[in-house]
């Protein structure tokens, strides 16, 4: 009984193998986020529609992925046919000529349906170099019950002064309720994402038009002073090591009054399975300082094709499938509207079923729409990116600056000292990299 069965399986797999020989195999590097894992599960739909293509997945943790993909493309390794990269990499790589412009996404793709700021961040010289898989901004999540008890009402577009006042009123250290939770863990994608976006709203920028760092200016001083004072008065202890996940845990345990972070968190904090305060959460736009710019950032995970790829046609077909309207409908039909990848298409936000399943949809869309990677600062800037500057040196510099700002938060350095060393170390690296 056993042997014939095995032989049969062997025979079948042989047939498949010989068929695969004639097929195009796409190697796709992607990040191990829930949305990407879901895409992997649903690839049956793609291969059914495109019988000539088989998919091979390389799924990695964010930092490892970034490292693998960057080394591969910089050394022209050619391991991958489709890359998952962030909005930070796209402008840099497109300028280097490492990415193929996506021009064959097909008639049904509807490029104009992409949300404009997301599209702007992925466009270089008028050409789209990567297609967004999901996008996010940042916004305020707050506890409606605590606000009511304190007699406060959250405006639709609050200012930093209001947030600071409210946070101080909500703080009750005896019940371990802290008015505000903000990121504090050093890192270019951790505290610097928040602080750079926050600095934009205070009128600051990383570099002036001649690439001179501006940490010695009054705007950065106001930003950092405000942040440190606010966190000292109303933040949780241990804030200097809190990143996204730590703050999420604190908020879900009911210990934060206000949390400003990524819009994707909205679905976690309002999910009763994960959050003890699911029915008490309200959402609002990230604060401004009255200068016309908000403190909301902009990020998207995108799919791109490396230049010189021999399988570009199949790769673009796959990208059009994974980032198209039909994919969203497919996820909705299989896993429900709450699980569709958010933040990439305008049509999603006019879909009544999605709006019903996601009460935070409108604020998310408004947040993404008001984040501007090109003109996100009050004064003009030479770089692309809201909470980052899309230059290769940024990751290293911002991580070192993040350490200095974390020291200001814990009080081991003064705000002035932290800014002064941030200025020196940024200036040093920029001189070395040849930005004169």
């Amino acid at each position: 009984m056993r042997m014939p069965l095995r032989a049969a399986i062997g025979g079948i797999s042989l047939i498949f193998a010989s068929q695969a020989m004639a097929q195009t195999t796409l190697t796709i590097a992607t990040v191990n986020n829930a949305d990407m894992i879901r895409m992997q599960r649903l690839t049956g739909d793609f291969t059914a529609k495109n019988p000539g293509v088989t998919l091979k997945w390389v799924t990695l943790e964010e930092n490892v992925l970034r490292q693998r993909v960057t080394t591969d493309i910089a050394t022209k390794g050619g391991q991958f046919d489709v890359l998952t990269i962030g909005t930070y990499e796209v402008p840099i790589w497109a300028k280097q000529g490492w990415l193929l412009p996506l021009e064959k996404l097909g008639p049904g793709y509807d490029v104009d349906d992409l949300i404009p700021p997301i599209r702007a961040g992925l466009t270089v010289n008028g050409k789209l170099y990567a297609a967004p898989f999901y996008g996010e901004s940042s916004m305020i999540m707050y506890r409606k019950d605590l606000f009511e008890k304190a007699g406060l009402k959250m405006p639709a577009a609050p200012t930093w002064d209001f947030i600071a006042d409210a946070a101080k009123k909500l703080t009750n250290k005896s019940t371990e309720t802290y008015g505000i939770c903000l990121r504090g863990k050093p890192g270019w994608g951790e505290n610097m994402a928040l602080l750079t976006a926050m600095a934009n709203s205070f009128g600051a920028r990383w570099f002036d038009e001649k690439w001179k760092p501006e940490f010695d200016g009054p705007e950065w001083k106001r930003t950092l002073t405000f942040y440190v004072d606010l966190m000292k008065a109303a933040g949780p202890p241990g804030a200097s090591t809190n990143g996204f996940n730590e703050n999420l845990a604190l908020f879900n345990a009911g210990k934060c009054g206000v949390w400003i972070d990524a819009t994707v968190a909205a679905s976690f904090v309002s999910n009763p399975k994960e959050s003890s305060v699911a029915d008490k959460v309200g959402f609002a736009l990230a604060p401004t300082a009255g200068l016309g710019k908000g403190a909301n950032w902009l990020w998207a995970w995108t799919l791109a094709v490396p230049a010189g790829s021999k399988k570009a046609d199949a790769a673009e077909k796959f990208i059009a499938w994974a980032t198209g309207k039909d994919y969203i409908a497919l996820v909705a039909s299989k896993e429900g509207w709450a699980n569709v990848p958010p933040g990439t298409r305008k049509s999603l936000y006019s879909n009544p079923e999605y709006l019903k399943a996601a009460p935070f949809a409108k604020v998310t869309l408004d947040s993404i729409n008001t984040a501007d990677p090109i003109n996100g600062t009050v004064k003009p800037k030479p770089y692309v990116g809201v909470q980052f500057a899309a230059i290769p040196e940024f990751q290293g510099i911002a991580t070192a600056v993040g350490q200095q700002f974390a020291a200001a938060l814990t009080g081991t350095a003064t705000v002035d000292a932290a800014l002064a060393s941030a200025q020196t170390l940024t200036q040093r690296e920029m001189t070395r990299a040849g930005y004169k």
Partner: protein, 290 residues
Amino acid sequence: MATQHTRVLGRILVAPSVILLFAWMIVPLAMTIYFSTLRYNLLNPGLERFVGAENYTYFLTDPAFIGSLRNTLVLVGSVLAITVVLGVLIGLLLDQMFVGRSIVRLMVIAPFFVMPTVSALVWKNLLMHPVSGIFAWIATSLGFRAIDWFAQVPMLSIILIVAWQWLPFATLVLLTAMQSLDNEEKEAADMDGTRPLSFFFHIVLPHLARAITVVVLIQTIFLLTVFAEIFVTTGGGPGTQTTNLAFLIYAQALLQYDVGGASAGGIVAVVLANIVAFFLVRLVGKNLET
């Protein structure tokens, strides 16, 4: 004994493996040295050029360099001290006969098998977190204020985590050494009426000297490059209080794909590690010769 002839023959026969090992070592080293003199960033291809010692001067004059050197030595030294002292004591306990000894031994060794990132996350979020951690809960329920570990005593926190991970290794090596202590020696000491303390200091400790040397040498090699624990918990901060050499190279060069800078940093680290190893071998290596 060996004639001139056999000695020459021996050398010829050994030559291939020696040459292979030498090449294995020298080729990567030479390439690293070569890269360290180049202006070479992976993300800016086509701009490679020779810059001499520029990468080194930038790395060595970094404001965080001296501090990170000090942090590295403090981290290595403290973890070594903690693991060796506690390792000997726990080894002594586990060497006794008691019920459930094998289970206790297994549990003592367990931390060594936990991945560094995982154990760092457990320490950070479940134990040391000032709001939701167990230490904070103990402190507040006893009426004290919770310690904000990674903000107030960041270096001590890292030392504790790393020491916790390496303690099982030290215990394991030292326990095995203790078990090899001759039973007759113990009986003889017993008959002579040796008191426990002097038995420990005059017989057990000298017997352990070689094992301790091995523990110190092996741990030093690994502790000089501690990275995951720092990356996960403090990110090298606050300020640069927990930035060690490995983390500095990561933030300075690897994070921006600066091959030249990273190579220079790597060479500096190799030189420093060799200096440390030289003194270490001098200091404790005599034990290995006999």
